[in-house]
């Protein structure tokens, strides 16, 4: 789960990691009184979850109160388009005002789960403010990587590796080391999958401040982080995806026209691939769960049918423990309930498949039975 920059900075503050003095603002009326309390220059920053805000015009550094006022009025409420938002953009509902700082040096610092080494990896670079992927590609020697064992924790020599590698000056060595330690503790405490500070700045009076903050938290861990769960805001998610999630369905919306409903994530991905190979485009990824029930099938139907791009539906269920006859009844009941009018191809396999097929055939619905996946592909191509 992603959280907003200002929320990430609240976590930083709680952990003792310095951030610029700032204020959030959600209404145009509040802009002027909030700015009156701040010294110029001020950074005006759109709070959306997607990256690339600066290039999209969502971050402005204002030297005067008048300029800050104008920038804030423009940004608050705008549809901010970045490389990650899609063409429609995302509505900016909150902006963050931050006191400008006198930057002497910009660094990059991040921590993330490293699946290959089963540990945590710390990545740092003296090229703060730049896209780290670009730095990694063009000047890999300027990137420092440290692997931390989650049982042993961050060691002093590993922090020194970062300090010497980044050429941190003696005057700020102690505070830099403290920030790395605190950030690592925060990472572990909150089950983060990623924390990124870009840039981490050293000011002309030798303070270290996290100018930006990105924190992603492992969704599986939210049961033990009620404070993070309370930050969840589905308004930036796709409407259908948010609705599906609230029903316990794994749904991702895509651009195509063939909706699919599958039990199990791996088979759901393979089914999308099959649709594409048949010459049509998948409209979604939908996993109703390995042991799909009739209720889940009905919910799945409703979600797929809410997407107006959908021209046909492919149901691919491998009924293992759950018997095909029960599933077929679920499909029929759900299809009748939602008043299905689109062509539906059903491919069903597993326990009691014959009985399941008979139920579908006798239902009076326009369901097409696919005998196997190859047959399904032919039928899909004909839609």
């Amino acid at each position: 789960m992603k959280i907003q920059e200002y929320q990430a900075k609240q976590l930083f503050l709680q952990s003792g990691i310095p951030v610029p003095t700032g204020q959030t603002c959600t209404t145009k009326e509040d802009i002027s009184p909030l700015l009156a309390k701040m010294k110029m220059p001020v950074a005006v920053k759109a709070q959306i979850l997607a990256g690339g805000r600066g290039k999209g015009g969502g971050v402005v550094l204002a030297k005067t109160t008048a300029a800050a006022q104008e920038a804030a009025e423009n940004i608050l409420g705008m549809q901010l388009v970045t490389k990650q938002t899609g063409a429609e953009g995302t509505e900016v509902k909150t902006i963050l005002f931050e006191q400008g700082v006198d930057i002497a040096k910009e660094l990059y610092l991040s921590m993330l789960v490293d699946r290959e080494h089963a540990g945590i990896v710390i990545i740092a670079s003296r090229d703060g403010g730049m896209n780290i992927e670009t730095v990694a590609e063009e000047t890999p020697e300027r990137i420092i990587t440290v692997h931390v064992n989650p049982l042993l924790g961050l060691q002093g020599y590993q922090i020194r590796e970062l300090i010497f590698g980044l050429g941190i000056e003696p005057a700020v060595v102690k505070s830099f080391g403290g920030i790395v330690r605190k950030l690592f503790s925060l990472f572990m405490q909150y089950d983060c999958s990623l924390v990124e500070i870009n840039p981490l700045v050293i000011t002309s009076d030798e303070e270290i401040i996290a100018l930006d903050a990105k924190v992603d938290i492992d969704s599986n861990s939210l049961f033990r982080h009620p404070d993070i769960l309370a930050m969840h805001d589905s308004s930036e998610e796709d409407e259908l995806e948010a609705a599906a999630a609230s029903h316990g369905l794994n749904y991702i919306r895509l651009d195509g026209t063939i909706g699919s409903m599958v039990n199990g994530a791996g088979l759901a991905m393979a089914t999308m691939d099959l649709i594409k190979q048949a010459g049509v485009e998948p409209a979604n990824f939908l996993d109703v769960g390995g042991g799909a029930s009739a209720e889940m099938v009905e919910k799945g139907f409703r979600i797929i049918l809410s997407d107006s791009n959908v021209r046909g539906i492919f149901i691919n269920i491998f009924g293992g423990i759950l018997r095909c006859d029960i599933l077929a009844e679920g499909v029929v009941t759900a299809a009748k309930k939602v008043g299905l009018s689109l062509p539906v191809i059903v491919r069903m396999e597993g326990t009691n498949v014959e009985e399941g097929r008979r139920i579908l055939a006798d239902s009076g619905l326009t369901l097409t039975n696919a005998t196997d996946l190859s047959h399904a592909a032919e039928l899909l191509a004909a839609i």
Binding site: V113, R115, E116, A118, G119, I120, E133, N149, P150, L151, M188, D191, S193, D218, N220, S221, F223, R224, N250, I252, L254, V262, N263, G264, A265, G266, L267, A268, M269, A270, M272, D273, L274, I275, K276, Q277, P282, F285, D287, G290, G291, F318, G319, G320, I321, E349, G350, T351, D372, L373, S374, H375, A376, A377
Partner: protein, 293 residues
């Protein structure tokens, strides 16, 4: 022959008194698996359909001489359940639970280093040696005993699809297992391939991967260097959009890494028979495996 489990494997079920635990313990038992006990703290002394329940794994091991366990406990307690089984020195730990926090698995994985136990999963369908032993939630009847094909996969229902097609073609299986869809897991592809290579009854292998991470690429290189049995490979997720988590926590393409194309290329370059279309997998296996079976 088979890998990791056979008819003499004695199995415990951690979380046996829960709804899922009771159901799947019954299903495994009906298949013929020797379920010797279950564990639910505080319910020791009870029994579930005749299977004795113990308070902890060590006690269960002492009383039953078990050598494997199936973990079907909720995510907040699953990592601890694995560690308890490791401490009891069980040979094989099969963790079905989906949704364990990654940080818990990082600790478990590092804590297991140098220990005796083998972990399969988490977030997996389990392992089955058809006709002998089923430790997991897969449907038993789709399998065909006697080999000669070994199946290893990162997925659940996709594995059933693959096994079903093999059975339809008259290709039996030695052992089929899912290694799980999480980013951090126990047994990996190479561990399974090593075991299949060493198992004389296994004449050929089907490997089913998906987007995310680099396990398939590493396995492909290993196959080329170490295996003389034919391997058919399939990768799910060609059409998955980058940056999105496709159901499985581990199935995500990030920073251009972990794509299906890269995995398919690695497979082709290392002499693996790549299956392009899932509907034709069984048929392809029949053709690719003719010489060795």
């Amino acid at each position: 022959m088979s890998i990791f489990v056979n008819k003499s494997t004695k199995v415990l079920v951690q979380g046996i008194t829960g709804k899922e635990g009771t159901f799947h313990a019954g299903q495994c038992s009906d298949y013929g698996t020797n379920i010797v006990g279950g564990i639910t703290p505080g319910k020791g002394g009870q029994n579930v359909n005749g299977i004795p329940v113990f308070n902890n794994v060590t006690e269960a091991c002492r009383e039953t001489d078990a050598d494997a366990t199936m973990i079907v406990v909720p995510p907040p307690f699953a990592a601890e359940a694995i560690l308890e089984a490791v401490d009891a020195e069980l040979d094989l730990i099969v963790c079905i639970t989906e949704g364990i926090p990654v940080m818990d698995m990082l600790r478990v994985k590092n804590g297991m280093a140098g220990k005796h136990s083998r972990l399969i999963g988490p977030n997996c369908p389990g392992i089955i040696t058809p006709g002998e032993c089923k430790i997991g939630i897969m449907p038993g009847p789709i399998h065909m005993p006697g080999g000669p094909v070994g199946v290893v996969s990162r997925s659940g229902t996709l594995t059933y699809e693959v096994v079903h097609q093999l059975t339809q073609q008259g290709l039996g299986q030695t052992t089929c297992l899912g290694i799980g869809g999480d980013p951090v897991n126990g047994t990996n592809f190479i561990d399974c391939l090593t075991a299949f290579q060493d198992d004389p009854e296994t004449k050929a292998v089907v490997m089913v991967g998906e987007i995310g991470g680099s396990a398939e690429e590493e396995a492909a290189a290993w196959i080329s260097a170490n295996m003389n049995k034919p391997v058919v490979g399939f990768i799910a997720g060609l059409t998955a959009p980058p940056g999105r988590r496709m159901g499985h926590a581990g199935a995500i393409v990030s920073g251009g890494k972990g794509t299906a194309e890269a995995k398919l290329t690695a497979m082709r370059e290392n002499g693996i028979h790549v299956c392009e279309s899932l509907g034709k997998l069984g048929q392809l296996c029949k053709e690719a495996f003719t010489e060795c079976i």
